[in-house]
């Protein structure tokens, strides 16, 4: 198996600042300074909260387009995506395709596994330290 670890859990929220404040206040979990921000190309803003070796990624949609906005409109707030860290994204995509999984082409170190290959779980692969 080539997965290094659980990289992060993606959590869709309606108000990023409110969610960060809640998790800090209730659970003592603090956002990592300097990570995240607005990503206009994806129509989101995000922040990462480290918990041990993994992160929680809080994601707020900035508009009405895209998968995050659709999730928020249909289901409200909640767990959205599981992200697994890999060493070599291109090699991992090929490995999974060889196993029979449908996987999108890597883009900027990220690739998504088709939900048809996971019974509906939104699964992302990510390569850090590129």
């Amino acid at each position: 198996m080539s997965f290094k670890k659980i990289d992060h859990i993606g959590i869709v929220v309606k108000d990023l600042d409110a969610a960060l404040a809640t998790y800090d206040h209730n659970l003592g979990l603090k956002a990592a300074p300097g990570r995240g921000g607005e990503v206009p190309a994806l129509g989101i803003k995000n922040a990462f909260v480290p918990v041990g070796e993994s992160d929680l990624e809080f994601i707020q949609p900035l508009g009405t387009e895209g998968p995050v906005a659709t999730f928020a409109a249909e289901r409200g707030e909640g767990t959205f995506m599981l992200s697994l860290e890999v060493d070599d994204i291109e090699a991992e995509v090929e490995r999974l395709r060889g196993l029979g999984a449908r996987v999108g082409n890597p883009n900027n170190g990220v690739a998504f596994v088709s939900m048809k290959s996971t019974h509906g779980v939104n699964l992302q692969l990510v390569q850090r330290n590129r």
Binding site: L96, S117, V121
Partner: protein, 137 residues
């Protein structure tokens, strides 16, 4: 006061057929299923994998009902804490609801669900090495 979560202990993927979903993850993704559990009385069938320190738990009904397709989703997660009593007290002090800690499925561990104040995320605490572990566990 803070809950003092040390790491994510496990992430739960719920399914109407957890054995089938775990099998699909094994076949399609090469994730090794290390443990399977169906305990009478829990009404659940659980299968477990592990990626470094985090357990991936596939959870579903003990008796699978007829279905047209297997449907799974990322459900929620459990954070490990060093003092579950303090963690629950912190959540309650913030004005949110959490259940009383009770014995977990994991031997010697204590578990409590946080019911509000998680922005829609099913969430719980677990503390290990609290209770005596029966021989043979």
């Amino acid at each position: 006061m803070s809950a003092g979560a040390t790491h994510i202990d496990h992430i739960v993927i719920s399914s109407n057929d957890s054995a089938a979903t775990a099998s699909l993850f094994a076949e399609n993704l090469g994730i090794e299923i290390k443990r399977t559990m169906s305990r009478p009385g829990t009404r659940a069938h659980l299968e477990f994998a592990k990626l470094k320190e985090v357990i991936l738990e596939f959870a579903g009904p003990g008796e699978v009902q007829p279905y047209d397709e297997v449907k799974a989703k990322l459900w929620g997660f459990v954070a490990a804490v060093e003092d579950i009593g303090a963690a629950i007290a912190a959540v309650r002090a913030a004005g949110f609801e959490a259940e009383e800690p009770h014995p977990a499925i994991q031997p010697g561990a204590v578990f409590a669900t946080v019911k509000t104040g998680t922005h829609g995320v099913p969430f719980a605490f677990i503390e290990y090495n609290v209770l005596p572990v029966p021989e043979g566990s």
